[in-house]
Each structure stands twice: as structure tokens, then as C-alpha cells.
């Protein structure tokens, strides 16, 4: 039954020299693997910093590619989304098959496939491999996490496995970079040779399925050829046959010419008198093949050691300790953002202040200097200063995800999420929403059910994202009393922040509940999720992802926010020159550094009020007056609709514009100093609360709206999200302001 001799397929059929190969176009290798098999870590180890991220046309799957060089030969690695099977029930899941077969527009078919396989969990990982082998491509197997397997008493004979598969099997430990050099060499050799992998221990479809595929092939040949100009690959036919109500079937059904009948008869043929679903037939036969493959390759210790995962899970999924750890982790997250980020934040602020000061001293007074100092440095600087918090947050979430805790959080929270009609899987995207709604909305792709996914997507922007932190930070530092509560253990500021987070969570949950009972009503979807082995996160992978995030954030800060800063600066600066006559700046500054500047500040405030921005703010003030806002807050809020973090920059512009550069006051003190026309403080606690609540609930993020449009492929859902959130924000702010005034806060 088992042939263990090395046959032709395991050796590269031709050995092209490096000199010969260098003239060719770069080789293309697709990377496939189960989730949690260490695919991203290995991808990073292979490609280093040479990565590009994009999208495939028409679907929402992220396209990540990188380049490596082996002996002068360039190899382009294309990372496919982690999956357990090539069965496809959505266009997104079909991308893997399409790409591997070279059917994605503008994408060349890969020369080879790198299959990343978790050695500690070999059988299930080989399931995907068995499907990939069916595609008829050359395959290289990375036997990853062999160290984890060894610790669990599982020993894999890689050479024997390679002989049986007819493909190179390279043991790797992606987290330590071990085996990567060998893997590179194997990739080059196999991709160059282009000999499809044909396992000596061959897999064959069970007869009924093979007959079904044959019947389907002849039944749909004519319409397929007419529509596509080619025949379907054997594997596409299999998917159309087996994945009932799946995507391959839907694509076939879209053609005319008796496709429905062909599907029905070929399925009847495949099923015969049996009641077993076709998918179970396929799975059974593949797992049977896998058992043949691994028998004798995998040795298990008599006494399986109690694993760390088991021991940790006993604590982390325990009723009491698990809940405590979960709550503690969340609290630690909030405290760390505020406390640990502070030193770096101060340093960045000081640096930006220095830059502004240097430019201010160096340039003559005028529009250009004002643009640079107030618009550019002031605007971007105050946003960049929040980079430490954002990085900390992504670092924290990254560690949770990479160590395996995210899945436990989903496990713990599933019942709770189920009560509002979602699943534990929605918990992960919603938790990611604490960092940024844009990746969080994209993270909803793990949710197979369309209604669940939509509901999660539509409420995730309510979670307190890192861009809201700047607003909260400024408002809380400026207006929430510096006091400790609960016996001195918790600062009132931290408690306020926690309340704002809770407001977002509660509102999101309530909205999800509402949506699942109205617009997105339907039967409960399944919840099947792997609980990965706990592992120490790879620092390299974490840092790489942090770098990606930082670049993405700065790119936003550098484009959207800079543009907004300049627009707002211009709106506030022009029309210019209507200065009141009595403004002898030099003279008053000479009298006294502080008090004498009063006239000047008033003059500048008058200039701002007369500017285009001031006029818009005035015009819209009546709408926002019930929230306790004046025209300046209105202006700052309006300016922040494309990106909410802009509000800090705008406030900075509005309230600093009147101040001299040598006044080193922070924005917080400027806000506290701000007065209404009658001389009363502009920002009272109710006003600050009203502003924070508005920002907590409002959809002030163009990127989120655009992402929702992309992911749902409809402007309808995007505008729906924008509208409901904005109305919600207005209503809640109104309630908070009027309510807190009523209670005399």
C-alpha cells in the first residue's frame, strides 16, 4: 500500500543553473496554509521588509506579496488568506482556488505552491495540502512548528513524508528563522523545475465523486466553453459538485444552457442511494489518504505530556479566574495607553514645539509662516503625538492575537455575543475596533455568515478607536478633576475614559441587537473556531505588523490630516487683513509678557470669527447650541468629519491661532481659558462631556465609511452607518448636556 521509495516527482526534474535562471521573469510562489500554522511569520522570515499589500479585484481579500532572492533568482511570494479547506461558499473563499489556477485577472498562475503545515497538528493541516495537490502544481511543504510538536510528544519523519508526498518537506521554526535557508533553496528548485507534485502514495477521488465530476464535466462543457472560452479544471468541477450552495456552483448557475439540470443529475449520480452528504464523502476519502500518508511518519510518545496549552486553558477559560484575567487584561490595556505612552508623547510634543518655534524664529511674519507653524507643524504635530498610544494598542492586540488569547476571548464571550444574535467571532473584530475601525471592519471577514458579518461591520465603528483617544485625552486632562476614587486606586480620569469605552460597547451591542432583529434577521449561523496552541509571540512578526500600522497611521496623518489642517488653517486665516487698527503688537508685548497681550488675542479672535470658517460655524451654531456648543466647537467638529483625530489639530488651530508662538501653553490650557461672549468659561464639564459623547458615537471617519463600502460593495450600507451613527451621536450628546445641566453638574 505504501511506497516509501523516492520517485521522480520528489526531485527537480531539470536543474537549471542560476545563470540560466537569472534571465527569466521572477518565479511566482503562492503561500497557502491553515490559520495559526505560522504562515505570516514564515512569510515575513522569507521576504523581510520587501512586502506590498493590495487587493484582488472584485473581492475583499487582501493581497500581500513579497520578494526574495535565491542565488540570483527572484521569487515573488504571494500570501493567500489562511484557510482550512479550498471549499468556497463566498467569492472571497474562491480567490484561493482562482489564484492557484491562474484565473484571477491580471495575476499570473503561480509556478509553485508553498504549503505551510503545522507539525503539531499534521492531519488536519494535510487536508488543505491534499486539495492543493489536486490542482496539479509543484508543491514545497514547510513543516512548521516542529518544536511545538516535539514538546507535545509528536515526532514527524520529514524525509519519509517527503518521499510519500513526492515533494520536498522542509522542517522550519518560523519564529526562530530555522530552516528558512533550506526552504528558499527548495522553493527555487521546485519553482524552476515546474514539475507538478504527484504523490507516490496517490489520492484518488472515491468512485461516486469521480463519476459525478465526469457527469458534470460533460453536462456543462458547452455552456462553460461558450461563456469562458476554456474548460473547467477538474478541481473547479469538484468544488461545484461538492460545495452545495457554494460559490463554484453559483458561478456555474449564472451561465445558461441546462447547467441546473447537469448539476442535479451529476449530484444524484455522485450520491447514489447513500444519504451521506458529498462534502462528507470528500472529507472521509481525504482523511483516509492522510492516514495512509502519516502512518509510520508520525511517532507519538507513549505518555503524552500535559501541554502548556491545557494548563493555561484551565486557568484562562475557568469560570472565575478566566473572567478575572479577561477583565484584568482589558483594564491593563486602558491604563497602559494612558500611563505608559505619556513619556514618548511628551517627547514628541516637545520636539514638534521646537520645530514650530525654529521655523517661527527663522521666517518673516506672514501667511507662509502662519501656514507652516499653525497649519502644518501645529496640525500634524498634535496628531503625531498620539502615535505612542496607537502603537501600544496595536502591540497589545497583536500580542493577544499571536499568543492565542484572542480565540479564548471569543470562546469566553460567545454566549454573551449570541444573546445579541452575534457569535464569539464578532468579538475579535469588535475588540480590534478599539484600535481602529478600518482593520476591524476588514477583520469581520472571519465571520462566514453574511448577516452576522454585516451587523458586526455596522456596529464596529462605535467601538472606541484610537483616533478618539486624542479627543478624550485632551478633554479629560483639561476638564475632569484630578482626583482619585474608589479608595485612591483609580483616577477619576481613568474612570471617565473607561465609561466612554463602555458607552461605545453598550451602544454597539444594542445596535447589533436591533439590527439582528430588524434589517438583518435570519437563522443563527454556526460557530466553529479553532483554539490555537498558546505560543510566545514572535517579536519580529509583532514589530513588522506595528511598523505596518505606524506607516498606515502616519500616511493618514500625513495626507488626510495634513490636507485637513491646511484647509482649516486657510479657512481660518482668510479673508485676512481686516485687522482692527489698534493692534500695536510690538508695543504691548514690550510692556508685559502676559497681561499686555490681551488686546492682541482679542484682535486675533475677531479675525478668526470673521474668517470663512468662523462664518460657517456661526451659520450652523443654532443646530448645535442645544448640545452646549458654540461656533468654535461646531467648526472643530465639522472639520473632523473626514477624520475625527483632526479635531485636536483644528482645536489647536482655532485656539492657538490667537496666541503668540512664545506662549508655550498646551492645548488643554488654551481650552480651559476659552471664554464665551459673556465671559463665562466655554468648556464646562457638561460641554466637555457632550463633546466626548458626540465623538464616542459619531462616524467621523472617511476611511471607515470607504472601507464599509468596499467590504459590503454597497454605498447603501456605508451611508446607513454614517447616518445612524451621526443621529445617535447628536441625540446622546443632547441628552448628556441637558441632563447634566439638569442635575447641576
Amino acid at each position: 500500500m505504501l511506497r516509501s521509495s523516492v520517485e521522480d516527482g520528489s526531485k527537480p526534474a531539470s536543474r537549471e543553473g542560476a545563470t540560466n535562471g537569472a534571465a527569466h521573469a521572477p518565479l511566482r510562489v503562492a503561500v497557502v496554509g491553515n490559520p495559526n500554522a505560522g504562515k505570516s511569520t514564515l512569510f515575513n522570515a522569507l521576504t523581510g521588509l520587501s512586502q506590498r499589500v493590495g487587493n484582488y479585484p472584485g473581492v475583499t481579500v487582501e493581497k500581500k506579496s513579497g520578494v526574495l532572492e535565491v542565488a540570483g533568482r527572484r521569487i515573488e511570494l504571494v500570501d493567500l488568506p489562511g484557510t482550512y479547506s479550498l471549499a468556497a461558499h463566498s467569492p472571497d473563499e474562491m480567490v484561493a482556488v482562482d489564484l492557484l489556477l491562474g484565473h484571477v485577472k491580471g495575476e499570473r498562475a503561480p509556478d509553485a505552491v508553498l504549503a505551510v503545515v503545522d507539525a503539531s497538528n499534521l492531519e488536519r493541516n494535510l487536508y488543505l495540502l491534499s486539495q492543493v495537490v489536486d490542482l496539479g502544481l509543484p508543491v514545497v511543504v514547510a513543516l512548521n512548528m516542529s518544536d511545538v510538536a516535539e514538546r507535545r510528544g509528536i515526532h514527524v519523519d520529514a524525509d519519509l513524508l517527503a518521499a510519500r508526498l513526492g515533494a520536498p518537506v522542509v522542517p522550519t521554526r518560523a519564529n526562530r528563522g530555522a530552516g528558512v535557508d533550506r526552504l528558499r533553496e527548495a522553493l527555487r528548485a521546485v519553482a524552476d523545475a515546474r514539475t507538478p507534485t504527484r504523490p507516490p502514495v496517490a489520492y484518488a477521488l472515491p468512485d461516486p465523486l469521480a463519476q459525478g465530476v465526469a457527469a458534470l464535466r460533460s453536462g456543462v462543457a458547452a455552456p462553460v466553453r461558450a461563456a469562458l472560452g476554456r474548460d473547467l479544471h477538474e478541481f473547479e468541477l469538484l468544488r461545484a459538485l461538492v460545495d452545495e450552495e457554494g460559490h463554484a456552483e453559483a458561478r456555474l448557475r449564472a451561465l445558461d444552457g441546462g447547467v441546473a439540470e447537469a448539476l442535479a443529475t451529476s449530484r444524484a449520480r455522485a450520491r447514489g442511494p447513500s444519504t451521506v452528504p458529498l462534502s462528507a464523502l470528500e472529507a472521509q476519502s481525504r482523511y483516509r489518504w492522510i492516514r495512509q500518508l502519516v502512518t509510520g511518519c508520525v511517532r507519538r510518545d507513549e505518555q503524552m505530556p500535559a501541554t502548556w496549552t491545557d494548563r493555561i486553558d484551565r486557568v484562562l477559560t475557568h469560570k472565575i479566574s478566566g473572567t478575572l484575567v479577561f477583565a484584568g487584561a482589558m483594564l491593563l490595556l486602558f491604563e497602559s495607553i494612558f500611563a505608559w505612552a505619556a513619556p514618548a508623547q511628551d517627547a514628541l510634543e516637545t520636539a514638534m514645539g521646537w520645530v514650530g518655534g525654529a521655523i517661527g524664529a527663522w521666517m518673516p511674519e506672514g501667511a507662509l509662516r502662519s501656514l507652516l507653524v499653525d497649519g502644518v507643524v501645529g496640525g500634524v504635530g498634535s496628531v503625531v503625538a498620539f502615535l505612542p498610544q496607537i502603537l501600544l494598542l496595536f502591540l497589545f492586540l497583536g500580542i493577544l492575537e499571536d499568543c492565542g488569547y484572542m480565540a479564548r476571548a471569543a470562546f469566553l464571550m460567545d454566549k454573551v455575543m449570541a444573546s445579541v444574535g452575534l457569535s464569539g467571532k464578532s468579538f475579535i473584530p469588535m475588540l480590534s475596533g478599539f484600535a481602529c475601525a478600518v482593520p476591524a471592519v476588514m477583520a469581520t471577514r472571519v465571520i462566514e455568515n453574511r448577516r452576522d458579518r454585516l451587523a458586526t461591520m455596522l456596529v464596529t465603528p462605535l467601538m472606541t478607536c484610537s483616533a478618539r483617544l486624542p479627543v478624550y485625552a485632551v478633554m479629560i486632562s483639561a476638564f475632569v478633576p484630578q482626583r482619585s476614587v474608589l479608595g485612591g486606586w483609580v483616577r477619576l480620569s481613568a474612570l471617565t475614559l473607561l465609561s466612554l469605552y463602555l458607552l461605545g460597547i453598550v451602544t454597539a451591542v444594542a445596535m447589533a441587537f436591533l439590527l439582528k432583529r430588524t434589517l438583518l434577521r435570519g437563522p443563527a449561523p454556526p460557530f466553529v473556531m479553532e483554539l490555537p496552541t498558546y505560543k510566545v509571540p514572535s517579536l519580529r512578526t509583532l514589530l513588522q505588523r506595528l511598523r505596518e500600522r505606524a506607516v498606515a497611521f502616519l500616511a493618514r496623518a500625513g495626507t488626510v490630516i495634513l490636507a485637513m489642517s491646511i484647509v482649516v488653517w486657510a479657512l481660518a486665516y482668510f479673508p485676512h487683513g481686516e485687522r482692527p487698527a489698534a493692534a500695536p503688537t510690538g508695543a504691548s508685548a514690550a510692556v508685559s509678557a502676559g497681561a499686555g497681550a490681551g488686546d492682541d488675542v482679542a484682535a486675533r479672535a475677531a479675525q478668526l470669527e470673521g474668517s470663512a470658517l468662523g462664518r460657517v460655524g456661526h451659520a450652523l451654531e443654532p443646530v448645535f447650541r442645544p448640545l452646549g456648543w458654540d461656533w468654535r466647537i461646531t467648526v472643530a467638529t465639522l472639520a473632523s468629519f473626514p477624520a475625527r483625530e483632526v479635531v485636536v489639530a483644528t482645536l489647536g488651530t482655532i485656539f492657538n491661532l490667537g496666541d503668540a508662538e512664545d506662549d508655550p501653553e498646551g492645548l488643554e490650557r488654551a481650552l480651559a481659558k476659552a471664554r464665551r461672549a459673556d465671559g463665562s468659561p466655554l468648556f464646562t464639564l457638561p460641554v466637555a462631556l457632550s463633546v466626548m459623547v458626540f465623538f464616542a458615537l459619531c462616524c467621523q471617519c472617511g476611511a471607515t465609511v470607504a472601507t464599509i463600502r468596499r467590504e459590503t460593495n454597497s454605498w447603501g450600507w456605508a451611508w446607513f452607518t454614517f447616518t445612524y451613527m451621526t443621529l445617535l451621536a447628536y441625540g446622546a450628546s443632547l441628552l448628556v448636556f441637558q441632563g447634566s445641566r439638569w442635575f447641576g453638574a
Partner: protein
């Protein structure tokens, strides 16, 4: 026929067949719930649902409703 949700924590059994069709059935099949496979119930989540099971050398979480679709016999 006994089903997976009736298993006690710490107990093992073998998969006999899946009473699920469509996407759920396919997902469970692909994840290794095929005839004859050993499956062990590890624990239930603190709130009673979902369940954590060990199958094919890995840990999987699924709800009682899905576990109810997995018919089992003694190990």
C-alpha cells in the same frame, strides 16, 4: 443516537456521522469530523456554551447546537 453535546467533560467518543448538511456539515467535515475519528470533550465555556473539544490533535470550539449534529459512539 448519542450526540457530541451529551458527552461529559474529559470523556472521549468516536464520530459516527454528521446530521448536518450544507455549509455547516462541510465545515465540520473539513475540520476533521469524519467517521471513526476520536473526539474528546474538554470543557464547556464558563457560561455553559460553547464547548471545547479535542479532535485530530487540535482544540476546537463549537456551540452545543453544532455539537448536537455530530452523532457519536463509545470510543
Amino acid at each position: 443516537m448519542r450526540t457530541l453535546d451529551q458527552l461529559r467533560p474529559g470523556m472521549s467518543a468516536r464520530v459516527v456521522r454528521l446530521a448536518a448538511r450544507g455549509a455547516i456539515g462541510q465545515r465540520l467535515s473539513d475540520m476533521g469530523f469524519v467517521e471513526g475519528t476520536a473526539v474528546k470533550l474538554i470543557r464547556a465555556a464558563p457560561l455553559g456554551d460553547p464547548l471545547e473539544v479535542e479532535i485530530q490533535d487540535y482544540l476546537l470550539s463549537l456551540r452545543r447546537a453544532e455539537a448536537h449534529l455530530v452523532e457519536i459512539s463509545d470510543a
